[in-house]
Amino acid sequence: MRENNTPDKRVFRGRKKSLSSRVMRPQDLLHPCPEGLYCPLGDFFIDPVRPVDRALITHGHADHARAGHRTVLATRETLDIMRLRYGADFAESRQVAAYGEGLDIGDVRVSFHPAGHVLGSAQIAVEANGLRIVASGDYKRHLDATCTPFEPVRCDVFITEATFGLPVFVHPAPEVEAERLAASLRQFPERAHIVGAYSLGKAQRVISLMRSIGHDEPILIHGALARISRYYQGQGIKLGRLEPATVEEETATRGAGQIIVAPPSVLGDRWTRRFADPLSAFASGWMRIRQRARQRGVELPLILSDHADWNELTATIRETGAGEVWVTHGREEALVRWCELHGIAARPLNLVGYEDEAD
């Protein structure tokens, strides 16, 4: 059984290419293609949106980690999550990348570094001929007990996400938001508090946060998050007592004064009708904007994001020391503008196929 613990050197040997003596340009090392970010020297893609021969995957969210590639290199947790989602045969072969360890693919040295986004998430550094590009994938800097914290990596070119790339997005401290949820539970003990949260990462982070402020009661979870939450618990992440939200016998007071965590799509849906006078909360960075909360009929917006806010984005760009920044999926224009104002070369990298992740 060639499982994820057995590195398959054959898979990532890559083609040797003779390099001319000219100075390497960043776009020779990595450039966007319809499939995703491509590295010609190592003949691999990062987070490709279509099936490819070799894929390096930053993290398990569906728009980054897709099934059907021939070979996949990712962290152990990301490979596990892909298997949970797509079944054991999501790729022909899989190889584990450990945080911080270098790995040669052809003439290219690649390494994975914590991104602080969700369990197993990584930035991928790609280096050749003295030029280093870091593809951040999705990342954040706020503390999160459910994953390894982000580590800045010095580089020449930094490829940053920009989901919350506008100065209006400054996420408050997570504990403050958790306390607001706790306060609402005390104020409306007869109402079921349905918390919409993306099922990989955000849901477990909400639960872990509530535990960290002393909320010890059982938390009910929607079926869509059961397996992934169990996996998190198996990785030693403390989520306390979780119970299925849907049971055979329904009562009129089901969920009263309790937290029910569910995918955002169920907010305001028929699914919520089984609970006592449901109060909809939504844990998302978008909740910073009142109109977003209003449109979705959210009564208790919780500003909690797994993506970097404006201050984190700009601080991270500085920390990487990058002289050039490529901005992807999100509000590219504002971050490009900020880089210009700070004397850093920047351009939007128009990659297709990445979504907002309902974050």
Partner: protein, 532 residues
């Protein structure tokens, strides 16, 4: 300021009235003086800071950040106050203590226009984004959070275990930050003395006549009068103070100088505000609407739509509080008083003679004037009591109009109903028989039972043609559609609606699953009503 910002944010997003009441009562209970009192003033529209203008705020923020980044942000958020609150750069030295609401209100009320920019910037520096938003909305008078002054007073009543009528009666004698009021509500002091002149007296309201109610009553005990289709008002004149109040105690004097100028002496009257000249003609509710919800009123408006008050009751005359006296006595005194008032501005709502309920029913069904919407029954020996006591007063309305309309759009409800399509836009047919088109004529979100709601919700989901946001358009053609029997109180002309009409108080009377959509009413049935 933090707590004030929190409650504003919660109130905006809490649709249920009870939820709002609980948030407010908890806030008043847990926040100390004087902050809670200033919050109360802000919620009831009692604060005004003319020195702060939106353009100034915009200039302040663009001095502090790149204009292009601000423009991207404003474009995304859409609301200037919210954008500024979010992008305002926090000072490096964030140690400055956040100001309390009381401090903010005091500062804003004293600041001059020239000092305002520096003062506002200093406040913004010391606040977090939510509190900055609250500050800007407070300072620019844009607090629109779905809380009426009445709801705030009800929360106070709940907090202190008092009747809301008592609070309304006191209200106009009190001033922010309302420390005496809170002391009384918390049982720490007696009821504040209502020293001010021209106060509102909580109004007496009637119950609708229910099934079998009349059989139990002796017609001889009751007087009947016409119920006019205007707005119920109270006019008070005391010690030179003249005020006109809506039935919830909101002061509306400013919009009706033509009426108020003519009042003198010391009295309080209960009646109906109408348009026209009582000696010549009584205008429709549509006419009256021209005069409602205005802060000021033009000369032309005063000439084209003069108002008058048709009096129902007398609450105060000289030093005498008439409210404890029986209706028959108040009515006789009112009849005595009326000749002393300007006949162009005040008249008496006539009593309706009747021997038995059948006779009154006949008169109710055939009112002598189109602006009559039913009859009121008042027990001759009843005092004037605040609120809606059961028994002394009844309203017996004209039967509502009904129309058979076709469901066109359904929108998700709020709160408890947020998982249901519970707000319905319906239309009637227009155009030639071979090319019928539906024109929307109204929107209703009540009148049906919970069971019926489930059925309509399912129908909407099964017959969706298009979805846009929370709204679904529903299949509605002559050969396929859901017919709703809609009851309503009347029609107004409207330039805002494509159909040219606006319905008053539409509600779903019945679901006509049995009726083919093609047999729903035509627009002519409604326009005829408008012309009548």
């Amino acid at each position: 300021m933090r707590r004030f910002a929190d409650i504003l944010d919660r109130l905006v997003l809490t649709p249920a009235r009870n939820g709002k009441l609980r948030l407010l009562a908890d806030y008043f209970r847990s926040v100390p003086d004087p902050d809670r009192g200033y919050a109360l003033a802000a919620l009831t529209g009692g604060l005004d800071f003319p020195a702060v203008k939106p353009a100034m705020l915009r200039a302040l923020v663009t001095e502090r950040m790149d204009e292009v980044l601000f423009a991207y942000s404003y474009d995304y958020v859409g609301d200037l106050a919210e954008t500024i609150s979010l992008v305002w750069p926090a000072p490096d030295d964030a140690s400055a203590e956040a100001p309390a609401l009381g401090e903010v209100v005091n500062t804003l009320s004293r600041v001059s226009r020239s000092d305002a920019p520096a003062v506002i910037a200093d406040l913004l520096d010391r606040l977090d984004p939510s509190a900055r938003f609250a500050l800007i909305k407070l300072a620019t008078g844009g607090l629109r959070i779905g809380v009426s002054a009445r709801l705030a007073k009800q929360a106070l009543a709940a907090m202190g275990g008092k009747d809301v009528g008592e609070i309304e009666e006191l209200w106009h004698g009190l001033e922010a930050p309302y420390e005496a009021l809170f002391a009384w509500l918390e049982g720490r002091a007696g009821k504040p003395q209502s020293a001010a002149q021209g106060q509102f007296r909580p109004v007496m309201l009637a119950h609708p006549v229910g099934e079998g109610d009349l059989e139990k009553l002796d017609p001889a005990d009751y007087a009947a009068e016409w119920k006019w289709d205007g707005i119920r008002v109270q006019a008070v004149c005391e010690g030179g103070v003249r005020r006109l109040y809506s039935r919830t105690g909101d002061e509306i004097s400013g919009a009706f100088p033509d009426l108020m100028e003519t009042l003198s002496g010391q009295l309080a009257l209960d009646g109906e505000l109408l348009v026209g000249d009582p000696r010549l003609r009584t205008g429709s509710f549509s006419d009256l609407q021209q005069r409602l919800n205005r802060k000021t009123v033009s000369k032309k408006m005063l000439a084209d739509y003069p108002v008058f008050m048709r009096c129902y009751d007398l609450l105060q005359r000289g030093e005498q509080d008439m409210r404890p006296r029986p209706f028959a006595e108040r009515r006789a005194l009112l009849e005595d008083l009326l000749p002393t008032l300007d006949p162009q501005r005040f008249d008496l709502s006539p009593l309706v003679d009747f021997g038995d309920w059948a006779e009154l029913e006949h008169k109710r069904s055939n009112p002598p004037h189109p602006i009559i919407e039913g009859v009121m029954l008042k027990r001759c020996d009843a005092a004037y009591l605040p609120g809606r006591p059961k028994g002394p007063w009844f309203k017996w309305k004209r039967d509502p109009f009904t129309v058979d309309a076709v469901l066109m759009y359904a929108q998700r409800g709020h709160g408890k109903r947020s998982s249901y399509y519970s707000d319905y836009t319906f239309g009637v047919w227009a155009g030639p028989e071979d090319d019928l088109q539906l024109v929307p004529v109204g929107k209703a979100y009540f009148g049906f039972t919970d069971e019926e709601l489930k059925l309509i919700d399912k129908y909407v989901r099964d017959n969706t043609v298009e979805r846009f946001g929370p709204v679904r358009s529903v299949r509605a053609e002559p050969g396929h559609g859901l017919v709703l029997e809609v009851a309503f109180e009347g029609l107004n002309r409207s330039t805002r609606h494509k159909s040219g009409i606006a319905m008053r108080f539409p509600r779903i009377a019945r679901l006509r699953w049995d009726k083919p959509a093609a047999e729903a009413d035509h627009i002519e049935a409604l326009t005829a009503l408008l012309d009548a």
